[in-house]
C-alpha cells in the first residue's frame, strides 16, 4: 500500500484547504421524460463537493451522465422534457431554486463553462471579439468600446497570437486549438470562481490537447478558479485534478484523491479504465485492456450493480443488491467486491 494519509473527510481539499465548499451537489437526479417513452434517469443521485480553487474530475464512459450533470448545475438543460431534483448549492445558494433571471445573472459571471467542440460552440457569424466582449458588457456593465481592450488582453492571456487581428476574425478563420483558447477566454472573461470544462480537449489532436490542458491548469492556478473537469479519459485527469469522481450509469462509483485513486483503484470499473490508458512504463508490446461490453449491458441500479455484467470479478450479490456509496478504507466506493491489489 502506498500513500494512505487519507483524511477522514470524504472530500479531500485542494490547494487552498478552505473548509466551506464552493459548490456542493447533493443527490442530483435528472430524469428525461419524452412523450410515449419510458422516463430515463440519466443522473441518479450524484453528490460531490468542489472547494475554492480545487480541481475536481468527473470521469466515465460516454453516456454515463457527465454532460447532463454539468448542464443541470448550469441550468442549461432543455426547458421541457426533464425533471431535476436534489440541491446544487453554490456559495450557499441552491441554484436549482433560482429563477431564470437570477440564473442568467450567475452564468458567465460566477460559473462559466467550456464545451467540447470549439467550432460548433462558437457562433459562426459573429466576430471572436464580440463573442468575448458581450459577456463583459453583460456582467461588467462595460461599453463595447471599454470591453474591447479587455477582450484583447484575454485573447493574449490564453495564448492566441496576434490578438488585435483575431478580435475581428470569425471562428472559421481560427485553428481548432485557437478556437478552444477563445472559448476559454470567453469563459474566464468575468473571472468566475467556478469553471466547468466538459471534455474541452476531445475534439482536438493530441499535441493541442496537451497545450490546452496545460493552459487550463496554469489559468486556474493563477486565478484561483475552481475547476470541474469532465472527461472520459483518465489520462487527462492525471495531470490536472486534485480529486476524481468516477461515474458509471448515472452514479458515482468511486471517489478519491488523485494519487490514491491512481495507485489503488478499488472499483473494478476504475481499475479497468486505468488499465486501458497507455502507460509509459508498460513493457513494450503489452496489450491495453479495454473494459469488455458496453453500457447497453447495464443492469438497473435499483436492484443490482449496473456494472456487474461487465465486471472482471462479480460475485453473486452483485446482480441482486445495489451497492451503496460507502467509505472503504477512507474513501467512498460503490462495490460489493472491491479490487484489493495495488497497481
Amino acid at each position: 500500500m502506498t500513500s494512505t494519509s487519507t483524511s477522514p473527510s470524504t472530500h479531500p481539499h485542494g490547494r487552498t484547504g478552505s473548509s466551506e465548499p464552493l459548490l456542493s451537489v447533493r443527490d442530483l437526479r435528472v430524469t428525461f421524460q419524452r412523450q410515449g417513452q419510458e422516463p430515463f434517469e440519466a443522473v441518479q443521485g450524484v453528490s460531490f463537493d468542489v472547494h475554492p480553487g480545487q480541481t475536481v474530475g468527473l470521469v466515465g464512459e460516454s453516456g454515463c451522465g457527465k454532460s447532463v450533470t454539468s448542464l443541470a448545475i448550469m441550468g442549461l438543460l432543455p426547458a421541457r422534457g426533464n425533471r431535476v431534483s436534489g440541491t446544487v448549492s453554490y456559495d450557499g445558494t441552491d441554484l436549482l431554486t433560482l429563477s431564470d433571471q437570477q440564473m442568467r445573472d450567475k452564468r458567465g459571471k460566477d460559473i462559466a463553462m467550456v464545451f467540447q467542440d470549439p467550432l460548433s460552440s462558437l457562433n459562426p457569424v459573429i466576430p471572436i471579439g464580440l463573442q468575448v466582449t458581450e459577456v463583459l458588457e453583460r456582467h461588467r456593465g462595460m461599453s463595447r468600446k471599454a470591453a474591447t481592450p479587455v477582450a484583447r488582453d484575454l485573447l493574449d492571456r490564453v495564448g492566441i497570437p496576434d490578438p488585435d487581428r483575431r478580435l475581428t476574425d470569425y471562428p472559421h478563420q481560427l485553428s481548432g486549438g485557437m478556437r478552444q483558447r477563445a472559448l476559454i477566454a470567453i469563459a474566464l472573461a468575468c473571472q468566475p470562481r467556478l469553471l466547468i470544462a466538459d471534455e474541452p480537449t476531445t475534439a482536438l489532436d493530441v499535441t493541442i490537447q496537451a497545450q490546452i490542458l496545460a493552459l487550463l491548469k496554469e489559468l486556474v492556478q493563477d486565478t484561483g478558479t475552481a475547476l470541474v473537469m469532465i472527461t472520459h479519459d483518465l489520462g487527462v485527469v492525471a495531470g490536472l485534478c486534485d480529486e476524481v469522481n468516477v461515474l458509471y450509469g448515472g452514479r458515482i462509483v468511486e471517489r478519491g484523491e488523485r494519487h490514491e485513486l491512481f495507485a489503488q483503484p478499488r472499483h473494478p470499473y476504475t481499475h479497468g479504465l486505468l488499465a486501458s490508458i497507455p502507460r509509459l512504463d508498460a513493457p513494450r508490446g503489452q496489450r491495453l485492456t479495454p473494459i469488455p461490453g458496453s453500457v447497453a449491458d447495464n443492469l438497473p441500479w435499483t436492484h443490482a450493480c449496473a456494472f456487474a455484467p461487465r465486471c472482471s470479478q462479480p460475485i453473486e450479490v452483485c446482480t441482486r443488491v445495489m451497492p451503496e456509496l460507502v467509505p472503504h478504507e477512507g474513501r467512498p466506493l460503490r462495490c460489493h467486491n472491491p479490487v484489493e491489489e495495488s497497481r
Binding site: 445573472d105 458567465g108 460548433s120 462558437l122 457562433n123 459562426p124 459577456v135
Partner: protein
C-alpha cells in the same frame, strides 16, 4: 466584394442572351401565331402572307433573331402586333411595370412582415397551440389557389362588406398627379396624401392575395430554420454566458436563422409573377401580369419578349441582391 458583383452582372448578361434565344425560338414554335391570332383561322393565304411580311415573320427564324438582337441593343423591342397594335412594346411594358412592382412590393412586405415573426414565435413555442395554429394557417396559405383567394377576398371585403375597393389602383375621380407611376409614392411626393391612402386601400386585397404563398413559404422556412439554430451548440454557449434573452434572440438566433430565409425570399420574389398574372386579372390591376396573359393569348411576340426578358432580369438582379445579403450576414461566404 465588388469583383463578385461585377462577375455576377456579367453572368447576368450571358443568362439574358441565352434566355432571349430560347424564348425567341419557343415563342415561334407555339401553335397558332400572331397572324392567326389577329385574322382568325379562315383568312385567305394572300392576306396572311401580306401580314406576315409586314411583321417580318416570313423570314427564317435566325434572320429574325439577328434583327431582333440588333434592334434590342438600341433599346427597340418593336411595336406591339396584336395587344395594342402599333404602340411600342417597351412603352407598354414601362407604363404597366410600376403597377406590378408596387403590388409585388406590398405583397412581399406583408409576406415578410408576417412570415418571419410568426415563424420565429412558432419555433420558440414549438408544439404549442400557437405553433399548431400558425402551421395550419400557413398550409391553407399554400393550398388555396391564388386565383380563388383573390376572388374570395374581393367578394367578401369589396362586394359584400364594401370595406375596400373592388378593382383598379386608385379612384379615377381623384385625378391624382402622376410622377413615378408608383401611386403611393406619387401621393407622398405631390403631398396629395389622400391619393396615397386611396392607392393603399386599393392595394390591400390584391396584395394579401398575392402574399399568401410567399408568406406561407417564408413562415415555414423561418420556423424550421429557427428550430435548427436553437439546437446549435453556440446557442448553448450563449446561454452559458448568461446573456439576456434579447441578445440571444437578436444576435445569436435570428442572424443565423435568417440565412436560409434570405434565399427563400429571393426565390419567392422571382416566383411572384405567376401569382401576379392571376391577381391582376381579378382586380383589373393594369399591370404586366395582365399584359402578359393578353399578349400570350394573342401571340404578341414583341410584348411577350419585353415582359419575359425584363422579368428574367429582375429575377437575376434579386438573386444577386440575395447573394450580397447572404455575404453580409455570413462571413464564411465573404472570405472564401
Amino acid at each position: 466584394m465588388l469583383r463578385f458583383i461585377i462577375r455576377r452582372l456579367v453572368q447576368m448578361v450571358g443568362v439574358l442572351v441565352v434566355l432571349s434565344l430560347l424564348l425567341f425560338l419557343w415563342l415561334r414554335s407555339l401553335p397558332g401565331g400572331t397572324v392567326s391570332a389577329i385574322l382568325g383561322e379562315r383568312a385567305t393565304p394572300a392576306t396572311r402572307a401580306a401580314m406576315e411580311k409586314a411583321f417580318g415573320l416570313d423570314e427564317p427564324v435566325w434572320v429574325q433573331y439577328g434583327k431582333f438582337v440588333g434592334r434590342v441593343l438600341q433599346g427597340d423591342f418593336g411595336p406591339s402586333t396584336s395587344v395594342l397594335p402599333g404602340t411600342d412594346a417597351l412603352d407598354i411594358f414601362l407604363q404597366r411595370f410600376p403597377a406590378t412592382i408596387e403590388l409585388s412590393f406590398f405583397a412581399m412586405l406583408i409576406a415578410v412582415a408576417l412570415g418571419i415573426p410568426m415563424g420565429y414565435v412558432a419555433a420558440r413555442r414549438r408544439a404549442s397551440f400557437l405553433d399548431n395554429a400558425s402551421v395550419v394557417f400557413s398550409l391553407v396559405g399554400v393550398a388555396v389557389p391564388v386565383f380563388f383567394l383573390a376572388f374570395l377576398l374581393k367578394y367578401v371585403f369589396a362586394i359584400k362588406l364594401g370595406w375596400l375597393p373592388v378593382s383598379g389602383r386608385q379612384d379615377g375621380s381623384l385625378d391624382a398627379t402622376r410622377v413615378t407611376g408608383f401611386f403611393v409614392i406619387d401621393g407622398l411626393l405631390t403631398r396629395e396624401f389622400d391619393a396615397s391612402v386611396n392607392a393603399l386601400k386599393h392595394l390591400v386585397l390584391p396584395a394579401v392575395a398575392l402574399a399568401s404563398i410567399p408568406f406561407a413559404v417564408i413562415f415555414r422556412i423561418t420556423r424550421a430554420s429557427v428550430l435548427e439554430v436553437l439546437d446549435e451548440d453556440y446557442i448553448r454557449t450563449a446561454e452559458s454566458k448568461g446573456l439576456t434573452n434579447r441578445v440571444i434572440r437578436g444576435r445569436h438566433v435570428l442572424r443565423n436563422a435568417m440565412l436560409p430565409v434570405t434565399t427563400t425570399i429571393g426565390l419567392q420574389i422571382g416566383a411572384l409573377l405567376g401569382g401576379a398574372v392571376l391577381t391582376e386579372a381579378v382586380f383589373s390591376w393594369g399591370g404586366i401580369g395582365e399584359a402578359l396573359a393578353l399578349s400570350f393569348s394573342r401571340r404578341d411576340y414583341p410584348v411577350l419578349q419585353v415582359i419575359i426578358l425584363a422579368a428574367a432580369a429582375v429575377y437575376v438582379l434579386v438573386n444577386l441582391l440575395v447573394d450580397i445579403m447572404y455575404a453580409v450576414i455570413d462571413p464564411r461566404v465573404r472570405t472564401r
